[in-house]
């Protein structure tokens, strides 16, 4: 049986999205900046896509949507714009969280080198940031708070509306990386006081290589890509209309079906969480309920994540791991470290990210195989042996 359970890494493209993309490649693949008919027909498709993206997050105006190459570019532009843009106003302080995506953390690192003061807050052990902690960290010179909508590894949903309200009251810009949330959780940028928001097409059954940055009217964007005057002069490069249209179609479809998809995915998620709970010395990472509909992240003590992942792959189950050995850097997941998980437990972690097209049968198959491979690797693990003999202490 093949079970794709890595939807947080990327999703398959939906039929709707693919059809829009192909139609567009055939019929509206001009340059929207051209004044002739083909160009103008393409421009119409592009602007229709912009309107759809705006509507999906309740932006006040489609002009507040800027198409980019994806979530990372959107994150880069949002942070750099807020930091460098507000510097002349004496604002030199940025706030973020330790379990953000690298697109945020590495951009913050770069801004720190430029001389900005960066505060990186740890979330609570359940992976959710305390709004009080943000409030305490805000200073008169704070330019921006950037807190993700929901975490990509452990699924924790952040109190975005409360953070937006706080930032609004304090006169601080609020950016949220909503790459994992768009089309999966309700987003209302106006009601939630979000000034900037990043999304990526391929996380909700759209194409790769396309994303969007929402920037509320009045928020000044600085260019990352210089060149022509596309995207209202804020993002140069001939518009990738087929990708933007396909992303917008996928987003529209996801938002329209959100309620039904969420109900289905949450039921599968909870079935998986409960099904793995009887594995001794294991723990669910992240909040039990305030988590993305399809996210399940477990640590299994005494077994190593990459081995578990490879063994599951042999059974047709595709997932991911936060172990050091499954990363190029050989550092365990900074998210699992950020929630205070002991490093030896982080090495034995697996993430399953389910989608609405997964089935109960598939979930039961995952449960069966995870039990099997965890037992199998513990059997040959000197670490497990030492834990069981009491030479080492269990941390889970």
């Amino acid at each position: 049986m093949r079970v794709y359970a890595d939807n947080a890494a990327t999703t398959y493209m939906s039929e709707t999205s693919m059809k829009v993309m192909v139609d567009c490649l055939k019929n509206a693949n001009g340059n929207p900046n051209s004044l002739h008919s083909e160009g103008q027909a393409t421009k119409e498709v592009l602007e229709d896509a912009r309107a759809k993206v705006a509507k999906a997050i309740n932006a006040a105006n489609p002009n507040e949507i800027y198409f980019t190459s994806g979530g990372s570019e959107s994150d880069n532009q949002a942070l750099i714009s807020a930091a460098r843009g507000l510097k002349s106003k004496g604002k030199n302080h940025l706030i973020t969280m330790s379990i953000e995506h690298d697109a945020i953390l590495n951009t913050m690192k770069k801004l720190k080198k430029e001389g900005f003061d960066v505060t990186i807050l740890d979330p609570q052990p359940d992976g959710i940031i305390s709004v009080d902690d943000i409030e305490k960290a805000i200073r008169p010179d704070t330019a921006l708070v950037s807190i993700m909508f929901a975490n990509n590894e452990i699924g924790s949903i952040q109190p975005v509306a409360e953070i937006g309200k706080l930032c609004h009251e304090k006169g601080v810009l609020f950016h949220t990386d909503a790459v994992q949330a768009a089309a999966h959780l309700p987003i209302d940028v106006q009601a939630m006081n979000i000034d900037m928001l990043s999304m990526s097409g391929h996380k909700f059954h759209g194409p790769k290589g396309v994303g969007a940055l929402y920037a509320r009217k009045g928020v000044k964007l600085l260019n990352i890509v210089e060149g022509g005057a596309q995207e209202r002069g804020k993002r140069a490069g001939t518009s990738n209309t087929p990708a933007a249209a396909a992303m917008a179609a996928a987003l529209e479809e996801g938002v329209a079906n959100m309620e039904a998809n969420t109900a289905k995915t949450v039921a599968l998620r909870d079935r998986l969480i409960e099904g793995l709970a009887d594995i001794p010395h294991s723990r669910l990472n992240g909040h039990r309920t305030k988590r993305l509909p399809g996210n399940v992240n477990y640590s299994f003590e005494g077994a190593e994540g990459e081995s578990l992942l490879l063994a599951l792959d042999m059974y047709g189950i595709e997932c991911s791991s936060g172990s050091a050995c499954s990363s190029q850097s050989l550092e365990p997941s900074h998210v699992l470290m950020g929630i205070g998980l002991p490093v030896e437990a982080a090495h034995g972690s697996l993430r399953f990210s389910l989608a609405e097209d997964n089935t109960e049968e598939q979930v039961d198959y995952i449960i069966e195989k995870v039990h099997q491979v965890v037992a199998q690797f513990r059997e040959i693990s000197p670490f497990w042996d030492e834990l069981e003999r009491g030479v080492r202490k269990h941390v889970i």
Partner: protein, 141 residues
């Protein structure tokens, strides 16, 4: 593919997994914080490694390198085992990704640690190859 077919074969069907009771030499390197632990058991008769088993906690390449290393020293003399390099293990596996080379180092060191134990148990003088042996990732036990 991340790994060669040989690595995947040794990962999927590791050779010589287990423990040896009353082994003549046992060595353990690595620790859970680093994310990999290898333990080697040697049975040695008349200077020949007649049996060798391992237990490994670690990634796919850690398991594959342990498995390959046991195959490479089984039936060999202690002297030959002392000369086994991590490079030879990597070559036998048709290569490893650069960031996984340390797994092969661990395998070499696990064998050396077991041989140190063997020499010490028998009150023999440590040969030059392992006289000042100190593994990269020392066991914290």
């Amino acid at each position: 593919m991340l790994y060669s077919e040989k690595v995947m074969d040794h990962f999927e069907h590791p050779r010589n997994v287990g423990e040896i009771e009353n082994a003549d030499g046992v060595g353990e390197v690595g620790n859970p914080v680093c994310g990999d632990i290898m333990r080697m058991y040697l049975k040695i008769d008349d200077g020949i490694i007649t049996d060798c088993k391992f237990k490994t906690f670690g990634c796919g390449s850690a398991i594959a390198t342990s498995s390959m290393a046991t195959e490479m020293i089984k039936g060999k003399t202690v002297k030959e085992a002392l000369e086994l390099s991590n490079k030879a293990v990597v070559e036998a596996l048709d290569g490893l990704p650069t960031h996984k080379i340390h797994c092969s180092v661990l395998a070499e060191e696990a064998i050396k640690a077991a041989l140190v134990d063997y020499y010490k148990k028998n009150d023999m003088e440590l040969p030059p190859e392992i006289k000042d042996f100190k593994p990269d990732e020392e066991s914290d036990l």
